[in-house]
């Protein structure tokens, strides 16, 4: 049983190593030096530095920030070789060890066939007249530090690309230090994937003095115009969108309000005023207030209900008017004499009860609600009648307008016919004369 197990393990390891070997072999061919998007730039231009590399799956890696590499260069403590396998800081390695854990099978660069400094391809070298300056923090600046992307994953090997954006504001010929990428090894330490250094030419802006024209004040189009980019329009586009949204909301609000709907298009159910008033009066009757000695509350409820209804129905501030002022305002509303008299009596009794501690007779209590209900019913019927009259008047007006238009059209047709006949007669006469 144990033998079988050992055989199985050994076979597994051999297969795994073979797979890694295949992968490394293929990587060896594809492995490149770090590339620059441009070898020569103007001051302030940006260059993309990318480094492709492959690692077996599940092997932790760490890309040393390029800004750190440049900083170490500017410190001058160590040369280009410092960022090699041996000089990679213990802290970085310790970090990597933590990340790697103890169970991850790792391979050394040699075993995986990853490039080292000696096996890297030759890069563009400076000409004899150019003085090579070491790139340092301050001379070369990192705009965006290394970010690792996975290019592909095949046979347990990840193909990765680390990209950084750098720039320089000082002209010169710079030797850019190679990126440093650490991978965990099986000993619990870290190995370095090493790349070649690159050279970058930073040129100063060429001033064309032959075609230079000084800016002339007051001369149209003499001022330099900067190119307009899309980002210049973004605030204006956002503002336009915002204004459009506000305009849409306002339009929608008023449109739906006119249709008696809320903002979301839901219909508002409006209970008619007379129904509200009648319901309140019914509630007051059901509460049996005057029977329990609460006459003041009873009459206050009735008068308040009526005043609210009158305010809505006849469109005047009944809530801010006294009883006599309300009755005065209702005089010209063509209210039936009996209804008006009953309402007036009811208001008088209510005033007595409310302001004179008057205890009304049972009849007066009983008659108060019917008088109020009669008034509300009368006012509602009157409203319906007014609506019908208005509709009839509108229909009549429309009919008159239509009839008038039709009559006008008929008269026009008759005139046209007359003119045609006249023309025909004239033509006929002419023809006869010619004959």
């Amino acid at each position: 049983m144990i033998r079988f197990k050992n055989i199985f393990l050994i076979t597994g390891c051999v297969v795994a190593l073979a797979a890694c070997g295949r992968a490394n072999k293929s990587e060896k061919k594809e492995m490149k030096n770090p590339t620059l998007s441009r070898d020569s730039i103007l001051v302030g231009d940006q260059v993309v530095m990318s480094a492709n590399f492959s690692v077996p799956d599940n092997i932790p890696i760490q890309v040393i920030p390029y800004a750190q590499i440049l900083a170490s260069k500017s410190a001058g403590a160590q040369g280009e070789e410092e960022m090699s396998q041996d000089s990679a800081s213990g802290m970085q390695k310790a970090n990597l060890q933590q990340v790697a854990g103890s169970v991850q099978p790792v391979q050394t660069p040699q075993s995986t066939g990853l490039p080292d400094s000696t096996s890297a391809a030759m890069v563009a070298m400076p000409g004899p007249s150019q003085v090579v300056q070491p790139a340092q923090a301050g001379t070369v600046e990192v705009v965006h530090d290394f970010v690792v992307d996975t290019l592909s994953f095949k046979d347990g090997v990840r193909k990765l690309r680390a990209k950084a954006i750098i720039t320089s504001f000082d002209s010169g010929y710079y030797k850019l230090p190679a990126p440093v990428i650490l991978i965990a090894n099986k000993r619990g330490g870290a190995d370095t994937i090493k790349f070649e250094d690159r050279f970058l030419t930073v040129n100063a802006m060429q001033v064309d003095t032959s075609s230079f024209k000084p800016y002339q004040l007051g001369v149209k189009d003499s001022q330099m115009k900067y190119p307009i980019s899309f980002s210049d329009f973004i605030p204006w586009i956002l503002l336009l969108l915002l204004l459009g949204a506000i305009a849409y909301c306002i339009t929608r609000y008023f449109k739906l309000k006119a249709q008696n709907k809320d903002f979301f298009g839901r219909s508002k159910i409006k209970v008619p005023d007379h129904v509200v008033a009648l319901k309140k009066l019914e509630k007051l009757r059901d509460e049996k207030l005057w029977q329990s000695g609460k006459e003041k509350q009873y009459f206050t409820g009735i008068t308040d209900t009526l005043r609210e209804y009158i305010q809505k129905r006849y469109k005047f501030g009944a809530m801010e008017k006294t009883s006599s002022e309300i009755m005065e305002s209702l005089k010209d509303k063509q209210i039936e004499e009996k209804t008006y008299a009953n309402l007036e009596d009811m208001f008088k009794v209510a005033d007595f009860v409310k302001f004179a501690k008057y205890s009304p007779l049972p009849d007066e209590n009983e008659n108060a609600i019917p008088a109020a209900v009669n008034f509300v019913n009368f006012a509602y019927m009157q409203e319906l009648k007014e609506q019908e009259e208005r509709a009839a008047a509108a229909a009549k007006k429309q009919a008159d307008k239509t009839a008038k238009t039709a009559a006008g059209q008929a008269a026009q047709n008759a005139d046209n016919k007359k003119n045609t006949q006249k023309t025909e007669e004239t033509v006929g006469n002419k023809k006869e004369e010619e004959k």
Binding site: G293, K296, T300, G317, M319, E320, K321, T322, S323, S324, E325, D351, F352, K354, F355, A356, K357, Y358, S359
Partner: protein, 330 residues
């Protein structure tokens, strides 16, 4: 709930207010038209409040007050306010008597039942303020002694509009002591014709003395008994508060127009005047109409306007109208 017999209360009012008709009749003998003025004079008389009459010269302000004094058999004094008047000319002073070789108190014209302060704004503020103690405390201090004024004591002042030349505006403290400020307007055409006829007649009519001060004091006690419901009290407070904090009553536009609102004295005066008005209308209880009927006279001189309001020609009457139109009637 304590019940009030309306019939009984009204009967009592009918009986006690009979003199209202007599006063009106006697006043109408002398004063043509100006019903509003006569009504306000009676409100002041019944509510124990001082009156300030404002109007252009020749509108029978002084005549109305002197006629009212004639109708009531009470001591009546008149002070013509002039720019050189002194406070001692009103309240009195200490005079050295050579006969008794002592200082004697010489009481001023303020010691009367009815005091007519004619053209009160023709004197400077120091003279006007001599009336402050008399009007509020019903007493006057001369030297070391304080003297009670007779009861009833009523100050009826007249003034010309302050825009007129040679006038001094009344201090706010004194204005507030007047219960009512009545604006006297020009008579109508027919009324003016009647006035001409009266003056062309052989003898100018004169009011008869038909009442005693005791009648007024008794009537005042009845006025105090006029019932005022809590709802009316709330209504009065709402009206007064709306002049102080108009924004709380949906009158934000008035906030910058009002420098200061009506004082608590306005609430007291409004309640008293409304009761007196209800009494005149032969009612034993106050209704909102009574409050509305007197609120202009009670509050117009108690609302301070800002420069902004004056620039926009806003008057206290405009403010009161807005307030009354907004405050909910009980």
């Amino acid at each position: 709930m304590e019940s009030v017999n309306i019939k009984e209360l009204n009967d009592r009012i009918q009986k006690e207010s009979a003199f209202v008709d007599i006063i009106t009749m006697e006043m109408n003998k002398v004063i043509v038209g100006q019903k509003h003025l006569i009504e306000d004079l009676m409100i002041g008389l019944l509510a124990d409040g001082h009156l300030l009459l404002e109007g252009m010269p020749g509108l029978a302000k002084t005549l109305a007050i002197s006629t009212l004094a004639d109708i009531i058999d009470a001591k009546f004094n008149r002070i013509q306010f002039t720019p050189d008047l002194l406070p001692a000319d009103i309240v009195g002073t200490m005079i050295y008597s050579q006969k008794s070789e002592q200082f004697q108190v010489k009481q001023g014209p303020v010691f009367a039942n009815f005091l007519l302060a004619d053209e009160i704004n023709r004197s400077p503020a120091k003279v006007q303020s001599a009336l402050l103690e008399a009007m509020q405390e019903r007493e006057v201090t001369i030297g070391d002694h304080t003297y009670k004024l007779p009861d009833p004591f009523l100050v009826m002042a007249t003034q010309n509009p302050i825009e007129q030349e040679g006038t001094y505006p009344l201090p706010e403290a004194q204005m507030d002591r007047f219960m009512l400020k009545v604006i006297v307007n020009y008579p109508k055409k027919d009324e003016e014709k009647m006035i001409i006829r009266m003056h062309n007649a052989q003898q100018f009519p004169k009011a008869s003395t038909v009442l005693k001060p005791e009648d007024i004091i008794r009537a005042r006690s009845v006025v105090k008994d006029v019932y005022m419901d809590e709802k009316i009290e709330k209504y009065i407070v709402d009206i007064v508060y709306a002049t102080r904090t108009p924004q709380e009553y949906g009158l934000g536009k008035l906030k910058n127009l009002i420098q200061y609102g009506a004082s608590p004295r306005a609430s007291i005066s409004l309640a008293k005047a409304a009761k007196a008005y209800a009494f005149i209308k032969r009612r034993g209880y106050v209704i909102p109409e009574d409050v509305r009927a007197v609120c202009y006279e009670v509050m117009r001189h108690r609302i301070g306007l800002t420069y902004e309001a004056e620039a926009e020609n806003v008057t206290p009457e405009n403010i009161i109208t807005d307030v009354v139109n907004v405050v909910e009637v009980p």
